[in-house]
Symmetry: C2
Subunit: 226 residues, 2 copies
DNA sequence: CGTGTGTTTGACATACCTCAAAGTCTGTGG
DNA sequence: CCACAGACTTTGAGGTATGTCAAACACACG
């Protein structure tokens, strides 16, 4: 199912279009979140806050992604969604969605697919954060974001891609400190693999990056929303 | 929906009951997995293998959990499911399941709930692996498994719980080495917090453990399958 | 012109890993 | 019954990847 069809279905709901500037929260860690969101444009980061104030970014989302959904009866406290750049979303009351799901098997299947995709991506991130070096984690994350942004895996040398991230956000996603992320980005630049600067990623050597990122072919499929 | 009702529904499928001994693979990293499984008894570990042979355990599952499900069209290579003790599962062809889902909204909702629950748990693990110390990661994992096994959060001092895990498996789940897990377990024993020995966890000081594990109340709800 | 956020760099500290070796227990075959 | 191998655990010594602390720089914003 294409995004356009999906959006048409969503018009049967009391949806609202909302926009958020960079750094604005779509929902906060302790908000009762009664809405489900579909990204129309821009980047959103979903993060999970721990009791001592540490933050783990679990996902980066872009156009077509759905977020804010929760299992009924479970409170997922400590989760928040932040706009990374200028973001436009379609927000609808969660209650209305569950009604629609029963009558629209297509939409239901789409939703199940999205949730499964999300799981794959999160488990992939977990595996890298748990098992690999700082350099590999960063390389893998940048590959993920690149594929999400461009919706393709292969890139020519010196391609430039806009990724509206700070080094600090890369740190929160990879389980590193911003300072160490900075050191690793410097090393990647010195090794002529990539240059990440002011939200612009330059792929100096895409093949080297793919190797460093320990990229399996399969996961890249999940990064692309068709 | 209770497990009994669900099992009754599953009888409409060509399900098969299968058993696996400790260490046996329910499915391997490169198997085409055509089945979906529902655990009747025992523990199963789901893990994600990286290219260089590293392994990350992303979930531990017990009675009532569903696994083996994948988003249509996405190959999730490198994932495997291993029996930790004597495991009995109900296996059904994935194709049959999707037919049933359309006709049984109850089952469909249950499945969506399970997937959401799974996501919460994996994101929680990611946050701990990415952001916390070895001691906290281990404490948090042991709390998770304890709650899954007993289906309740509170425990009296010196309660004993059977958790059929090796230190090496704890290491694979927490992103540590088995050697370091051993050292941390020794420290927990010396600090009279817990003792983990031959698959038996003794909660010497449950409150101290809960604090160490940085346990939020909400996530515990997701650990219990009702 | 000051304040804040993000980046960059250096010196130093440490949590965790690696390597090495011995100990325990179980199962197996002679 | 003994010898052996294999999985898991335990401990020590030493190394290193990453974190911490400190300071300066750049840039945007009011």
């Amino acid at each position: 199912m294409k995004t356009e069809d999906e959006l048409r279905d969503l018009q049967m709901l009391q949806y609202r279009i909302r926009s958020y500037g960079p750094g604005k929260m779509v929902y906060g860690a302790h908000d009762p979140h009664a809405f489900v969101y579909n990204i129309i444009s821009g980047w959103v980061a979903i993060s999970h806050d721990l009791l001592d104030g540490q933050r783990q970014i679990s996902q980066f989302l872009t156009k077509g992604a759905i977020f804010g959904l929760r299992p009924e009866g479970l409170v997922s406290n400590g989760k928040s969604a932040m706009a990374l750049d200028e973001v436009t979303v379609c927000a609808m009351p969660a209650a209305n969605l569950s009604v629609l799901l029963n009558s629209h098997p297509q939409l239901n299947r789409r939703l199940v697919w999205m949730m499964g995709r999300e799981s794959l991506i999160t488990e992939n991130r977990l595996a890298f954060v748990g098992q690999t070096s700082a350099l590999t984690r960063i390389a893998n994350l940048l590959m993920e974001l690149t594929v999400m942004a461009t919706r393709k895996l292969a890139h020519m040398a010196d391609s430039k891609i806009r990724l509206p991230l700070t080094q600090s956000q890369i740190a929160d996603a990879t389980g590193l400190t911003a300072i160490h992320v900075n050191r690793m980005l410097r090393k990647l630049r010195e090794d002529r693999v990539l240059d990440f600067h002011d939200g612009i990623l330059t792929l100096m050597n895409p093949d080297a990056l793919k190797t460093l990122a320990q990229l399996g072919d399969e996961i890249a499929d999940a990064w692309v929303i068709d």
